[in-house]
Amino acid sequence: MKFITIDKKEWDKGIEKSKKSYDLFGPVKDKNGFFIKKLENNTLPQMEYHDSVMSAKSVLFPQTEKILETTLDETQVDHHIMKRAKTDYSPRAVVGIRPYDAKAMQILNLNFDTDEYKDPYWCDAYAATTFIGLGINKPGPCDFSTSTGTGPFNEDGLDVLLADLDDKYLAKVLTDKGESYLSSCGFVDTADDKESQVLFDILRKEAEKNIVSNIDTDKLKDKTILELHEAPFWDDIAFSCINCGTCTYVCPTCWCFDIQDETKRKTSTRIRNWDTCMAPLFTSHASGHNPRDAKTQRVRQRFMHKLKYFLDKYDKGIMCVGCGRCVKFCPVNIDIREVCNKMNSYEVAK
């Protein structure tokens, strides 16, 4: 494995240089906190951030995205024939993405890139993107990523992992994509492999010590879907929920979307928007019948999807990376860690 040292004095210049070959995204602060945004000219990623309010998923899966378009003008030969909307898929890089957000991209990829169908918007964006991760030296109190198969220095889904060493970054190059990005910045100063890896291991261990909460997921697999679905605790869990959907929007692994048509003059555009399973309309039939009419059913759907359906379907762990955003931003303090532990320890009365 190759390691590169980046002097922080060189950082800004290098990042600015890489904009010639990449569309850059990174943490930027606004009045509501840090967000992963496109870095326009003269904007640099604010690497001192702790975590972003929203995850990085919008870089690949925008909150609203044009997918198809056509003309309704019947004098045109191709009227009412839908074609793919044009989107720029030139190389992009997310600088400073947190390891749990990169892990979440792999989870989203399972949904959008399947043997049977490939979502071309996701797949093209995923292929175009290089992920430059930033290890988390001091994880916050809501971070439980080590018990969800990732962690503050996890490398899954990343092309480069950076460690912040005060006056410099130490970059672990994980893929060719990552190497290309670093060379586009002019960062080529290699560091000793062994020493660097030792340093990474120390940082990882120190960081993991800061993680104070965890979840148990070991027994979820053995219970049946129906056992957990019929468990008696769902009304209690859902009691305070106001179905605002915040948990689903801030979640880096929530992928559900809606498709809507919009027409301006004679141009019709098919758009996909993030959707939320917390909304009654999400499942409401045209007839008025709604299979998830009650709040409890919707809250249960969210947790069952993340912690049981996904686990059973893919056998690749749970659909949660432990970033803690839903815990932090829930207006009524519903905590996925408590729900998960309740589900994991639930025993059916025989």
Binding site: M82, T114, K118, I225, D261, A286, P291, H305
Partner: protein, 281 residues
């Protein structure tokens, strides 16, 4: 990479009012590009997204049969934004069709079996597709006895009436047509609800008999006990579900029942499979 969101362009070739209250119409579409018809190769029981630019998409069961060539047919109940718009469209208009989507009735498993088809109201579209498929001279020998129980509120609410009465006259299919009630003195078929007609007329189950049910939830609910009385086991009862859908390809996340997605893992499930999932349909 094939873009699964792009519909095949089709032209409305014919529109037929399907029921006396005019709430259902049957649309016949032809593909604008001949080669798209090949790509849209489907099985009885599958559905498609009818895609109207500027309005939206709706998942609808395919009412034409794989053995019918040169067109596809959908019978649509006017109920929401897209279906209302479709009902107001005219012959010659251009729209899109995306599919075929979902699984189908298990035709491999049904070979050399007796098949009992049970339908109610306007949930008879993919069942029509199935009957036409099974009665096709190339396929009829693959199946043993075929029974059909189909009911609607009144004679005028039965879909595909002419075909039903044609099938009635044949000796290779046993039709049990029923209506909830009628004051038509010349009505020569059954009167009564589907569950009762099933109990009185459908064949008793043996290992080689399978039932396919499609209908409103209330009919399904009351037909199940009738089938149990006749000896049908959970794996011999095949059902087709519907749920709100958007993508139709298993990605948008709303149509799930437990870990199964109705759009991709379904819409066809056996009662045995459904009994292992939450009943969120």
């Amino acid at each position: 990479m094939k873009n699964p969101y792009i519909p095949y362009p089709v032209r409305i070739d014919d529109i037929e009012i399907a029921t006396e209250d005019k709430s259902l119409k049957t649309f016949k579409f032809v593909f604008l590009n001949k080669e798209d018809e090949q790509k849209f190769s489907y099985q009885a029981g599958q559905f498609a997204e009818i895609s109207i630019p500027g309005v939206g998409e709706i998942p609808i069961g395919i009412a034409s049969s794989p053995v019918e060539k040169g067109f596809i047919k959908f019978t649509v109940f006017r109920t929401g934004v897209v279906t209302s718009h479709l009902h107001n469209m005219k012959v010659g208009d251009i729209l899109g069709v995306r599919g075929p989507l979902g699984n189908w009735y298990p035709w491999d498993k049904l070979e050399n079996k007796n098949v009992v088809i049970i339908g109610g109201g306007f949930a008879f579209t993919t069942l029509r597709s199935s009957i036409i498929y099974m009665l096709d001279p190339a396929n009829r020998d693959k199946f043993k006895n075929i029974d059909v129980v189909y009911g609607a509120r009144s004679p005028g609410m039965l879909l595909y009436r002419e075909e039903l009465f044609e099938w009635e006259k044949r000796d290779d299919i046993n039709m049990h047509i029923t209506v909830d009630g009628t004051d038509d003195k010349t009505w020569k078929y059954h009167t009564g609800f589907v569950p009762t007609i099933v109990e009185e007329n459908a064949p008793k189950a043996d290992e080689d008999t399978y039932a396919i049910i499609c209908g409103p939830p209330i009919m399904i609910k009351f037909t199940q006990p009738s089938l149990v009385k006749l000896g049908y086991k959970e794996h011999q009862i095949i059902m087709s579900l519907e749920n709100r859908m958007k993508c139709g390809i298993g990605m948008c996340g709303r149509c799930n029942i437990g870990k199964e997605l109705v759009c991709k893992d379904g819409p066809v499930f056996t009662l045995e499979q459904l009994n292992m999932t939450p009943k969120e349909y």
